[in-house]
């Protein structure tokens, strides 16, 4: 099962909006009118890599906004293996949809595009996560460098890669068809480091099995979701709104 694209569109539902208005002030009518105009002009887009979809949904879900709309759209995670296509795909999407938004936040690192993604983002006045790739921004640059300094032969897995290991790593590298290629790919690797976004015993067990499949030593480090803050912070709102999760119940995930 592979995630083809995910369109997650948040719409403030009526009950949530009412809660907000009644808790607000006496000029309810004005507040409403103002808000609908603001909604349009303040609409923000998070355009992300499919490999980050669960984390993005999670973060946005827990920090919903009432008075503005945030759309989340993810491109296929398989683009990871063809980075030369990433900038073009992002450009295509933003050329079609970017103008509808007040701000575009892109949940990608450089991801091997060697600056091509940054050129596209500059054109659309969008910003992205700092760092070279998701392993770096999840672990944090310092910790990532420390890992590499300690053992260059480290292969990293995130929650997403653990969940879809067979599809993205085993099939992605053709190891299902040609298991003998394992040594060609991993001969210089000694350990697998699972840098975990969530504390999940099942995933840890699965990650151990992934390490076994690749013949690598297993290491675990919980790193959480802090790495995504640069993208999610601008769409966060004061904690007063954080109980209105229902506003973000409309999630559509398409699998192929």
């Amino acid at each position: 099962m592979q995630i083809k694209s995910v369109t997650f569109t948040s719409r403030p539902d009526l009950s949530a909006a009412n809660k907000f208005s009644t808790a607000g002030n006496a000029q309810q009518g004005n507040v409403h009118q103002c808000k609908s105009q603001e909604e349009k002009s303040q609409k923000k887009l998070v355009l992300g890599c499919g490999a980050l979809v669960y984390e993005l949904v999670e973060l946005i879900k827990h920090n919903p906004l009432v008075n503005q709309v945030v759309d989340l759209h993810c491109l296929p995670a398989t683009l990871h293996n063809t980075p030369q296509l990433i900038a073009g795909e992002v450009d295509k999407f933003l050329s079609e949809k970017g103008a509808d938004y007040a701000e575009v936040l892109v949940a990608y690192g450089d991801c091997g595009t060697a600056g091509a993604l940054d050129t596209v983002l500059a054109k659309h006045q969008a910003t992205r996560l700092p760092g070279a790739h998701c392993y770096e921004f999840f672990a944090g640059s310092q910790q990532y460098d420390d890992f590499m300094e300690a053992e260059l032969g480290s292969f990293f897995l995130t929650d997403f890669l653990v969940k879809f290991f067979d599809r993205l790593v085993i099939e992605g590298l053709g190891l299902d068809r040609y298991p003998e290629l394992k040594d060609v790919y991993f001969k210089h690797y000694t350990q697998l480091i699972y840098i975990a976004q969530t504390n999940d015993a099942d995933l840890q067990e699965k990650a151990k099995q992934c390490a076994q499949k690749l013949g690598l030593e297993y290491r675990y480090r919980f790193v959480g979701l802090d790495g995504l803050r640069p993208v999610t912070k601008p769409i966060m709102q004061p904690s007063a709104f954080s109980n209105i999760e229902s506003a973000f119940s409309n999630i559509e995930v398409n699998y192929v």
Binding site: P83, A132, L173, G174, L175, R177, Y178, L181
Partner: protein, 231 residues
Amino acid sequence: MSEQDDDFELSDLDDKELVEQIQDDLYDGLNDEVFEGVEILLARNWDANDILGDALVGGMKVVGEDFRDGILFVPEVLKCAGAMKQGMGLLRPILANSAIDLSLGKFVIGTVKGDIHDIGKNLVGMMLEGAGFEVIDLGINNPVENYLNAIDEHKPVVMGMSALLTTTMPYMGVVLEELDKRGMRKDFHVMVGGAPLNQEFADAIGADAYGRDAARSAEMASSHARSVKAC
């Protein structure tokens, strides 16, 4: 690629058909068949260098083009490279003992410091060997000292650096600066390559050439080596 039935003997084919069949088998990553095909051509007194050029390098060129055009992917390319290695294994000792020196000179190649990706580098090395270079492979994760030592020891015609990470490609610039400082840039050509690189980057760090893929890199290196030989 091959659409022929499996039940035929390679030895029944005439030379032209056999060369084409070896190319097809190489494309399909069939180690044993490529090995057998090369053996048969050798038994028919084919020159080892012609087998290398016509059957193996010829086959790998098609593989490279189809990889570039998105028809073949990394795993398939690796299978093809494995098959080419089988054939080369047979030819290498013969070429090494050959009376005529067809060598284009030495090519020192290595992945730069901090990077352990080596698939592309290995493919380039293989095509360079096929083109007639003596390839000195420094492996992965090479600090500038490794390149300097290898240059001292081997006096290459070309030195090549590979990088697959955007965080490691700037290190190529560090190596080039060091070579500049030591006034060594006139002695040999420096080629750079790796998926995230492009001509613009190669120009910016002052490399002599950027190699987009293995076949093109081998052609560029060969024409440089020939021009040096001619002088």
